[in-house]
Amino acid sequence: MTEPLLRVRDLKTYFVTEQGSGTARAVDGVSFDVYPGETLGVVGESGCGKTVTSLSILRLIPEPPGHIRPGSFIEFEGRNLLTLAPKELRAVRGNRIAMIFQEPMTSLNPVFTVGHQIAEAAIVHQSLSRRAARARAIEMLTLVGIPDPGERVDHYPHQMSGGMRQRVMIAMALICHPQLLIADEPTTALDVTIQAQILELLDRLQRELGMAVMLITHDLGVVAGSADRVVVMYAGQVVEQASTGELFARPLHPYTEGLLASVPRLDTRVSQVRGRLHSIPGQVPAATSWPAGCRFHPRCPYAWDRCAVEEPPLLDSAGAEAGTHTVRCWLLTEPERRERHP
């Protein structure tokens, strides 16, 4: 297997809460790899630590109140991003690793033209002249499918729709041809039809530019359509990790199972869903007080006494090659308990 492009090991990003009510362990020991050219989907409910994980990679967590704990390790192109000097870090940001955000409405600076904002990274990283960078910005606008790029380059963000602004964000992120694009819920704020267009655009650009994409989403439909591999997060941890096909065919963590069961499907017989869509009971606990033992056990239909006491490690699935499908669940050691459940 090829070397991973990005290796995240035991990432812990904590926040000191305002009222001093404790430390929020938003990301608590997350490890995963991103391989060159692949799309890695990162899924989970709101509050499970997806966004904090992605921001931690480029060290965009506001400090204070946040901080990345010592012992965390994020390797990219052979260097630990967490120990880079500010100058070296800047050379990675927007150049080797780029990022697009959830809210295209607020992620663009309202007082600068989109052309200026797109060109900025090229001026900083590739030392292009203003004129050359502007020409590159127009090229990028063409690439992301914005009509009349020569005119649009001088427009301000407020003159554009949400979908167009997200295209501008993508143009801005890709102008330096990064090796890795981190897309944090890039379609959540958009209409469904626009969502599909943006995802298609990302797919096409990934193929054309040969970059890896880390796609963060709470939408399993998005993952199924775009991702090669999936990391499922819950309560600041990775709970399951597998290739997309494997995950959808054989979800092993009860949380993943619940997530898949809560996706509406056309081909499910009505008798099976009993007329209602499945939902996982309860909600993600507060990051200041994760449950002891397995963090999912208060919401888990299979939980038994061991789950409340002992925290499960990431275990290899029996049917798969080591490391290709890992699950953080005691059920893997006692699979018969799953059968006994009604």
Partner: protein, 326 residues
């Protein structure tokens, strides 16, 4: 944009007109008259009656008002009772000193206020920020005239570093003619300009800090960082450009503050400007001079907010695009 400007100008004229009317009525309703006998002087009632006739004070108030407006339309501000010369001439003499004082104070206000506010925002919640925040609160809470008196007492009376009043040395420099006299003017200017400027800068710094902190948490600032820009560029270009927008409003509001503040500060420092002129005119019941001064002051205030609105439209493309003012 043009239609908007025309609308704004029409509103400005209406405001100035309203201020003139209110001032005219109020000062005439105030007890006391310009020509009256007092404890020191005995004046023949015949003389008083003649003076009142001469200046039209024997007419009913509405008639006086109409006459005043008619003269105003012809650019006539009338004759000052106390100064024995046209109101326009008295005001023309008082404007340059006030502009000098208010202009210098404005520069101190914004140069110091913006720099301190920016520094505080960058060091938010650390020692420097908290210390400066308390100093700013102190100056912000201080009435200008009282700060002026304290500065006078310390630097003028006790330390003899600065003069205790006036705008220039009456013997050596009756008017600014040489570099030495310019120095003399600056020497006289220091304390009153600092008084006004420091109090203004305290408020500006507090606004600037808040605006900068608000903007620093915005998504587009994170975007700028994610692009790999230097922290200096992130803060001074991406954040500051947006944080300056609310400051423009403050700039518009600074005009009236400097004018009203200047009234008291000019009085304290015996500065021969509009403020001192207005106060003296009010005490003398010099009706035309009071109304004339109010006319000029309201004109400046209205102009200030008009300038702020135009600046706003220039600085914020969202407003420019819509072609309308806030």
């Amino acid at each position: 944009m043009t239609a908007w400007l025309v609308r704004r100008l029409a509103a400005a004229i209406a405001i100035v007109f309203a201020v003139v009317t209110i001032t005219f009525v109020l000062i005439h309703l105030a007890p006391g008259t310009p020509f009256a006998a007092d404890d020191q002087r005995q004046v023949d009632p015949e003389v008083i009656a003649r003076l009142r006739r001469q200046f039209g004070l024997d007419q009913p108030l509405p008639v006086q008002y109409v006459l005043y407006l008619r003269n105003l339309l012809h650019g006539e501000l009338g004759q000052s009772f106390s100064q024995h010369r046209p109101v326009a001439a008295a005001i023309a003499d008082a404007i340059p000193p006030t502009l000098t004082l208010a202009g210098t104070a404005l520069v101190i206000d914004f140069a110091l206020g913006l720099a301190l506010g920016l520094y505080q925002a960058v060091r938010a919640r650390r020692f420097g920020d908290i210390a400066l925040g308390n100093v700013a609160l102190f100056f912000n809470s201080m009435p200008t005239f009282w700060l002026g008196l304290i500065l006078l007492l310390v630097f003028g009376q006790w330390l003899h570093v600065f003069p205790v009043g006036g705008m220039r040395d009456p013997v050596l420099c009756p008017s600014v003619t040489s570099a030495r006299c310019l120095g003399d003017l600056l020497w006289h200017l220091t304390l009153p300009a600092l008084t006004l400027g420091l109090v203004g800068a305290a408020a500006t710094a507090r606004y600037q800090r808040a605006a900068m902190l608000e903007v620093a948490g915005q998504d587009y600032v994170r975007t700028a960082r994610a692009k790999g820009l230097r922290e200096r560029r992130v803060l001074l270009v991406h954040a500051l450009r947006n944080a300056l927008l609310p400051i423009i409003t403050l700039f518009g509001l600074a005009f009236p503050f400097l004018l009203t503040g200047a009234v008291l500060v000019e009085r304290v420092f015996a500065w021969p400007g509009m403020g001192r002129l207005s106060v003296t005119a009010i005490f003398q019941r010099d009706y035309p001079l009071v109304t004339g001064a109010a006319l000029v002051a309201s004109g400046v205030v209205v102009l200030g907010s008009l300038v702020a609105d135009v600046l706003y439209a220039v600085a914020d493309p969202r407003i420019r695009g819509r072609g309308a003012g806030p």
